[in-house]
C-alpha cells in the first residue's frame, strides 16, 4: 500500500508545483480536444439541426444511424483513419499520421455523432409552434432558423460539452493516430497508459486527477445548462 500513498503524495506535489512534464501533457489534451470539438460544433450542430427540421426520405434511418454511431468504438475510428492516413493509404501524402492533427481528425469523427445527435434532440424538443409563429410573423427561412437555433442554445451548448467529454477521456484514437510522442502528441490518457506500464504511478495519478477535475468542471456547466434549458 505504501507505494500508492507515495504516488499520491508525489502526484499532489506535481499538481501544486505545476510540473512541466505534466503541464505539457495536459496542454496537448486541451488543445487537441478543443480543436476537434470546434470542428464537431461547426459541423455537428448544423447537421443535427438540419435533420431535425427537414422532412426527407430516409430521415429515420439517418437518425438511427447517428444514434448507433454514438457507441462507435474509439479503436475502430483509430484503425480506419490510420489506414487512410498512413503514407501507403489514400491520404498518405498529407503526412498527418503521428501528428496532433491526426488526433484532432480522429476526435472529430468521434464527437460528431454526439454533437449532432444532441443538437437534433435539442431542436426537436422545441415547441413546434415556435417555427410557425416565426413564419406567420413574416420571417424568412434563414431568420426562422436562427430563431430556432437561438431558442435551443442551452441544449446546443450542452451537446458541445458532452462531445468534449467524450473526446477528452478517450485513448484509442490518441494512441493509434498520435503515437504518444513526448511533448507533441502525448496527452493525458496515453501518458497514463505509458506511466502505468512503467510502474510509475505519481504522474499517472496526477494526470488522472487533472482529467477528473476538468470533467467535473464540464459537468457542472453541463448540468447548469440543462437545467436552464428545462426551465426556459
Amino acid at each position: 500500500m505504501n507505494y500508492l500513498f507515495a504516488g499520491l503524495q508525489e502526484a499532489l506535489r506535481m499538481i501544486f508545483h505545476l510540473d512541466r512534464e505534466m503541464l505539457s501533457i495536459v496542454m496537448v489534451s486541451l488543445k487537441v480536444s478543443s480543436l476537434s470539438i470546434l470542428l464537431a460544433t461547426l459541423t455537428g450542430i448544423p447537421f443535427g439541426f438540419f435533420v431535425a427540421i427537414k422532412h426527407f426520405p430516409g430521415k429515420r434511418i439517418v437518425v438511427v444511424l447517428l444514434h448507433t454511431l454514438l457507441s462507435l468504438p474509439t479503436v475502430v475510428v483509430g484503425l480506419l483513419l490510420y489506414s487512410f492516413l498512413s503514407r501507403r493509404g489514400p491520404l498518405g501524402n498529407l503526412g498527418l499520421l503521428y501528428t496532433p492533427w491526426a488526433m484532432v481528425l480522429g476526435q472529430w469523427v468521434l464527437s460528431f455523432p454526439i454533437v449532432s445527435c444532441l443538437s437534433l434532440n435539442a431542436t426537436q424538443s422545441l415547441d413546434a409552434r415556435a417555427k410557425k409563429t416565426a413564419m406567420i410573423l413574416g420571417a424568412t427561412h434563414l431568420q426562422s432558423a436562427s430563431l430556432l437555433l437561438f431558442e435551443a442554445r442551452a441544449g446546443l451548448a450542452a451537446a458541445v460539452i458532452a462531445g468534449f467529454g467524450r473526446v477528452f477521456g478517450e485513448i484509442g484514437v490518441s494512441m493509434m493516430l498520435g503515437g504518444n510522442i513526448r511533448a507533441y502528441t502525448r496527452n493525458i490518457t496515453t501518458a497514463i497508459a505509458l506511466e502505468t506500464g512503467k510502474g510509475e504511478f505519481a504522474l499517472g495519478i496526477a494526470l488522472g486527477l487533472v482529467l477528473l477535475s476538468i470533467s467535473f468542471l464540464l459537468n457542472i456547466i453541463f448540468y447548469y445548462l440543462r437545467n436552464k434549458n428545462i426551465s426556459a
Partner: protein
C-alpha cells in the same frame, strides 16, 4: 458565456502557431530505448546541436519496421539484425549502421522455482518449459520477442500452454506483468536496469554468447518514399556513429550503471 466562448476560440486559434518551429523528423524505435530513458538523454543533445527535433514513436521493432515499410517515419533505431537485413534487402531501408550493443537477460522471481540461476539461456528455457513455470513473452514481434523465439528454436522447443503468456505490450509493461505473475521473461539490460527498483524480479541467466543485443540505426529509403526527410535522418545517423555519438552512448548510465556500449568496443 460569450466571453468564455471568445477566450476559447482565441485559444484554439492560437494552437497552430505553437506547432511551428524547428524541423521535426519521426523516428520509430523500440520500447526499450524509450523506457530506459536513453532517448530522453540523447535526443535533446542532437536537437541542440542540429536544430532537428526527433519525434519518437516507441513501439516494438517489428512494428517500427512496418512503420518504415509504410513510409510513416523517416528514421529507425531498432534491434533485430535479421529482420533489419531483410528490410534493407527489400529496399525499404538504407544506410543501416550498427551503433551499439548490450545484452539480454532472463529474469525471474527471486525464489527461482525453475532453478535457472547461472545457467545458459538454452538450458534456462528448457527448465522453464519442463516445469511449466510462468513465462511472459512480449508477443509483439519486437526485437526482444524475435530474440526469444530464436532462443526457443535453438532449444528445440515450441512454447505454449497456460504457463506461456503473450503480453502484446512494451518491455516495461511486460516486465510489470512478469513481476505480478511471478514469472520469467526475457528483457534487455537497459529496461531492466531502469525498472529494477520497482520490481521483485532478479537477473538469473546472463549468457553473453547467446544473448547479445545489437542496436542499429537506418534511414527509410527516399527512393521508395520521396517525402521522407532523408537529409535530416542522415544527419542523425552520422552523428550517432561519430566519435561524439560514441562518447555519449558510453556515458549514459541507468541506476549508476553503463547501459549501452558503442560498437567499436565489441570484440566477439
Amino acid at each position: 458565456m460569450r466571453l468564455l466562448l471568445a477566450v476559447w476560440i482565441l485559444w484554439v486559434g492560437l494552437f497552430p502557431l505553437s506547432l511551428s518551429g524547428a524541423e521535426r523528423i519521426k523516428m520509430a524505435t523500440t520500447t526499450s530505448l524509450d523506457n530506459s530513458g536513453f532517448l530522453d538523454y540523447l535526443l535533446p543533445k542532437f536537437a541542440k546541436e542540429y536544430g532537428i527535433k526527433i519525434d519518437v514513436i516507441a513501439v516494438g521493432t517489428g512494428k517500427a519496421l512496418k512503420l518504415g515499410e509504410n513510409g510513416d517515419v523517416d528514421l529507425l533505431f531498432v534491434h533485430a539484425p535479421k529482420a533489419e537485413a531483410e528490410f534493407v534487402r527489400k529496399g525499404f531501408g538504407v544506410q543501416r549502421t550498427t551503433v551499439m550493443y548490450n545484452y539480454f537477460l532472463i529474469v525471474g522471481p527471486p525464489r527461482d522455482p525453475a532453478q535457472i540461476k547461472g545457467k545458459n539461456a538454452i538450458e534456462s528455457l528448457r527448465r522453464i518449459y519442463r516445469g511449466q513455470y510462468t513465462f511472459v513473452s512480449r508477443g509483439d514481434e519486437s526485437g526482444t520477442h524475435k530474440k526469444e523465439k530464436e532462443l526457443w528454436k535453438m532449444a528445440g522447443l515450441k512454447p505454449g500452454g497456460s504457463w506461456y503468456l503473450e503480453a502484446g505490450q512494451g518491455m516495461a509493461a511486460t516486465l510489470q506483468i512478469a513481476d505480478e505473475k511471478r514469472g520469467y521473461t526475457l528483457v534487455d539490460t537497459s529496461t531492466f536496469l531502469a525498472l529494477q527498483n520497482k520490481l521483485d524480479l532478479v537477473a538469473l541467466s546472463q549468457d553473453k554468447e547467446r544473448l547479445l543485443n545489437l542496436y542499429s540505426v537506418m534511414a527509410v529509403n527516399p527512393k521508395k518514399y520521396p517525402r521522407v526527410k532523408y537529409g535530416a535522418a542522415m544527419k542523425f545517423i552520422e552523428w550517432i556513429s561519430s566519435r561524439r555519438g560514441k562518447v555519449l552512448i558510453r556515458e549514459f548510465t541507468t541506476q549508476g550503471k553503463r547501459t549501452f556500449f558503442p560498437i567499436d568496443t565489441l570484440h566477439p
